[in-house]
Subunit: 616 residues, 2 copies
């Protein structure tokens, strides 16, 4: 391809909103342009790399027997109402009414659409397992889209859905997907951190996120310095003195030596820091008590304080009975924070959030800031395991400007439930090996997830087993964001001058730069391009009437792996040569013009083979 | 691919709404399924053929130097407001409000988006010509989507946009696109009828539609039996006694022999048929007079009856002055119909439509049904050329239950303007060669169109010429519907048993059917598949545990070009063989198993080469 015949509008400047490297470089390299906030168009150069990512993903999906389909982008709202997600998806789902006032959705994901497709076709166990995937446009109505294509509103996702007769079948496909995802990212030259959620506290349904390290990552990852443990902080567990709560009996014996509980006046002291200063102690001796509101709680609360008064409801015929709303007091050590994902999981609640100030006042009988575990009534108390080790603690006294000191667990209060509720932080010890945990920010590129029968049940998918009995298939869901993957490649492979493409996703593999596109230089450049293209190499020929310096700068910016400079000087050597430089390396080499095409071809294919081998 | 490892849910029955062959066969062959009215999902088999159409289109676009980009599917409404189409696109454009109450459009076409992209990048004439294209999801909120993917709500279109410094450049790209479109359709095995709008009455801005004949076509085509003339009836011209209007002088001389005009009582007679019966004459002697309302008329009306009273307006700074609303009386022979596209073109109006009954009464001073050219005042009269040949005609007398007889053109009325206004019908004579015209119903698969500067001007695209002077580029737009193209292939290539794929778009090229997938038959079938796949042939192996009859029926239905049956009987011959049959042919041939793969490979490639040659 001649540079003058394509459309690569490179730029020196970038817009102010381009704050991350990939956004800046894709913009400057003329790969993308903004149509509106969060809506980006790929220009020819960007689309070439995008298609390569797409091809790698398609190859790996096909290789594990997943079958490509193409549902629509606009999906009837009816299907989302069947699954119940019409209400639960929130405002990030772009909803449309058509001219006949029917509801539609610009698809953010396709569990509903694909399950609707297969339910009418599924009859026999012989059709399973079945894995379908699409590579298609998705939309998420982000309030604050940022970072270019890394967090846009419209994006392309590969989303796959698998259906199985049993857990063993789901597990097999789930593991094959995990392997395929590892290959995909390696083939793209990406270092990903696979984060298993089931290695954390949650257990049960498995999922694995594929993260790349990123300063602007949405996710905080907890990693172990000594072993391979990696978890999203939302689900991370840790080892500590509090792995299991101390028993009440142990605590009571221990408490015998603790001074009796004492009420302290703490005027104008509200924060834990202020209390620490006032009482000359540290946050590890405090019991922080937070009032949480939980929705749709499945856990049996009939034996809890106030539990018999709670309303119960059966949201659907096949669904378990739940408490639509319940309040909990959550006690945690002053230096720790409550992990709401863990809390929701423990309560089997669909959602938890801090109670309103009015609810706190109603429940604790005191202003906000004076809740504590001692004397609390009418509400179940849930304590983090670390609380059970506290033998001489301070906490709010359920009255304005009063705190209790010398609180002993087991003697002065007994929680209804003890569990791991803490948000893990750097410095905690690994639950697997005891090693030190540390934090990284990460962006999620892919996610594989065992869904179970939630959607297949809600949407009425059935198959008949060998004896003719009807069953609901179990299901998995597997996604990769293509735009994000491409942007992450740039985040990982660049320098101050521009992008340094891994060969597999480079928009062109070789750029040929004639110092001046005329005479013998032109002839040699044209011949070289022709030989390379004949060998299947993708070549960009910079035929612009620009100074070599401008061409070199653009070549570095757009990051084509091999740069070949054709100039008079090297052509007039005894053995006429061209100068070849690997992007990212400093030194160039002189290639005999008669061997340049063949040698370069070998080098390009070797790099592709190496990346693909990494992925194998 | 093994049949049992893909997902091809073939069916004997079709839903009642599948009334055309391609819809029925795609449904039965398990190529598509309906998600909702007008929303279809491609299943694996359908997607394979779809991707082949896509690949052919992409190759032909790349071959003429068009550059692929990928704008978003969801486009900011702001851009449509800039071009003015936010108001003019009507309800078929799917509009969305996002959570921040901003307007968006699920793209029906992308003149705005692509022009918005290039306007910020365009600086010099050296960047032009520039042709950009996308192959992407489009949406049109059809009220009554029908005929499967032939007229769905969501579809995929290849849409290209070219920008040029001058008309010569636009013309060159326009012609290259026309050639590319012909190649695309031929390579897909389609017979298209290219319909040039500029060969018709319209002149000026050129466009060409690529039609396929179809009983359920949206368009009526007018074709010549003697020459290559083909036009959409909306724009078709014809030769007749009325090519040019008779001059008023000629008409007056001729009228000397005509009896004087006479008023006739025509109680309870309203339609032309009733009048014909009543007056014992035929419709060719009638002058039908219709009152039209025209919007944004550019034609100078200052010299017309009532013209000086009309309001004038300049809609934009650079736009010509227009009459926002004007009424016209249109006279046409009783057996002919007014072509509103021609009428709008002649009046230079953005839109024309029949006036309301109230307006007719106000303008003619008579109830609807009694308008006529004689005595009409205060409104310009536009007459079809055929009217000028009428020397003894009947028309409404501008009063209830009264008609005039013996009306002579030139003597009793003189139109303000005479022009070709008629809708051409079968039997009319070709404007080019005088041959007989006939009609066909057709579906539009593609459309190429010289847009001029409408969008580039409205959206502020500029470039600088060699002397640094700023100009607005001229523009072309070029579309192909992929889904429609694929469905049309099936409409053209099928029989009672199913689809007969042209090799270039077949989902698989060969289907291998082992009579029973076990023992020696299995071994031979597997070897054959392996050899064919090694040679690059796409093979479906029917490994299902079904009777041969079922497999044969399905093979015919899904239409794979070559069917190879492997059975014990032929394997036990002296020269062991397999039975090869071309889909659509009756006779099968016995191939030596040692040569079958090679021979078949040659046959497949020969057919692909033949179709591609047709397109060259």
């Amino acid at each position: 391809m001649h540079f003058t015949q394509t459309f690569i509008p490179t730029l020196r400047e970038v817009p102010a909103d381009a704050v991350i490297v990939s956004h800046r470089l894709m913009f400057r390299a003329g790969m993308i342009r903004k149509l509106a906030n969060g809506l980006f168009a790929y220009l020819p150069l960007g689309l070439r790399s995008f298609r390569k990512v797409e091809k790698i993903i398609r190859e790996e999906m096909d290789a594990i027997g997943a079958l490509e389909i193409k549902p629509t982008v606009v999906i009837p709202g009816e299907l989302w109402k069947e699954s119940g997600r019409w209400d639960s998806m929130g405002e990030a789902m772009l909803r449309v009414k058509n001219r006949l006032d029917a509801d539609f959705v610009v698809s953010p994901t396709a569990e509903e659409a694909v399950t609707a497709l297969i339910r009418d076709e599924l009859s026999s166990y012989r059709q399973l397992p079945l894995t379908l995937y699409q590579i298609n446009t998705k939309y998420r109505d982000e309030i604050r889209p940022r970072y270019g294509i890394m967090r846009g509103r419209e994006f392309v996702m590969k989303d796959a859905y698998s259906y199985h007769t049993d857990d063993a079948g789901l597990d097999e496909t789930y593991r094959a997907m995990g392997r395929a995802y590892r290959r995909i990212f390696k083939r793209c030259g990406l270092s990903v951190i696979p984060v298993k959620a089931d290695s954390g506290a949650m257990g049960g349904s498995s999922s694995e996120e594929f993260m790349v390290e990123s300063e602007i990552g949405d996710n905080t990852l907890i990693l172990c310095k000594s072993c391979a443990y990696a978890a999203n902080v939302e689900k991370a567990a840790c080892k500590s003195d509090c792995d299991a709560p101390d028993s009440i009996e142990t605590a009571k014996i221990r408490a015998a030596a603790t001074p009796a509980i004492e009420t302290i006046d703490t005027p104008d002291v509200k924060t834990i820091d202020e209390l620490c200063a006032f009482l000359k102690t540290d946050a590890k001796s405090f019991i922080k008590t937070l009032i949480y509101r939980a929705l749709n709680v499945e856990l049996d609360l009939s034996k809890t304080p106030g539990g018999t008064k709670l309303e119960k409801r059966k949201p659907a015929l096949d669904a378990p009975e739940v408490y639509p709303e319940a309040f909990f007091a959550v006690a945690i050590r002053g230096d720790l924070n409550v992990n709401e994902v863990k809390l929701a999981a423990i309560l089997k609640a669909s959602e938890v959030s801090l109670a309103s100030d009015a609810d706190v006042v109603r429940i604790t009988g005191a202003p906000v800031g004076f809740a504590g575990p001692v004397g609390l009534s009418g509400i179940p108390l849930v304590a983090d395991t670390a609380v059970s080790a506290l033998n001489d603690a301070v906490a709010g006294a359920l009255a304005k400007d009063l705190h209790y000191a010398h609180i002993a667990y087991g003697r002065d209060f007994v929680p209804w439930l003890s569990a791991d509720l803490r948000t893990v932080i750097a410095g905690d010890r690994c639950a697997l090996c005891g090693g030190e945990l540390y934090e990284k920010k990460g962006n999620e590129l892919g996610h594989i997830f065992k869904l179970g029968r939630k959607y297949t049940q809600a949407m009425g998918a059935h198959y008949l087993d060998e004896s003719g009995k009807s069953h609901i298939p179990t299901m998995g869901t597997y996604g990769i964001g293509l735009d994000r993957t491409l942007a992450s490649v740039i985040e990982e492979h660049h320098d101050d001058d521009g992008i340094i493409w891994p060969m597999t996703v480079a928009p062109y593999q070789v750029i040929v730069i004639p110092v001046k596109y005329e005479g013998a230089v032109k002839t040699v450049a044209d011949q070289l391009v022709s030989s390379l293209e004949h060998a299947g190499i993708e070549v960009l020929l910079d035929d612009r009437n620009e100074r070599p310096g401008v061409k070199f700068k653009d070549a570095d910016l757009i990051g084509i792996p091999y740069r070949v400079v054709v100039g008079d000087k090297n052509l007039s050597l005894d053995i006429p040569g061209v100068e070849v430089k690997r992007r990212g390396e400093k030194e160039s080499r002189l290639f005999d013009i008669n061997k340049a095409a063949e040698t370069l071809t070998g080098m390009v294919y070797a790099e592709i083979a190496q990346l693909n081998r990494n992925g194998a």
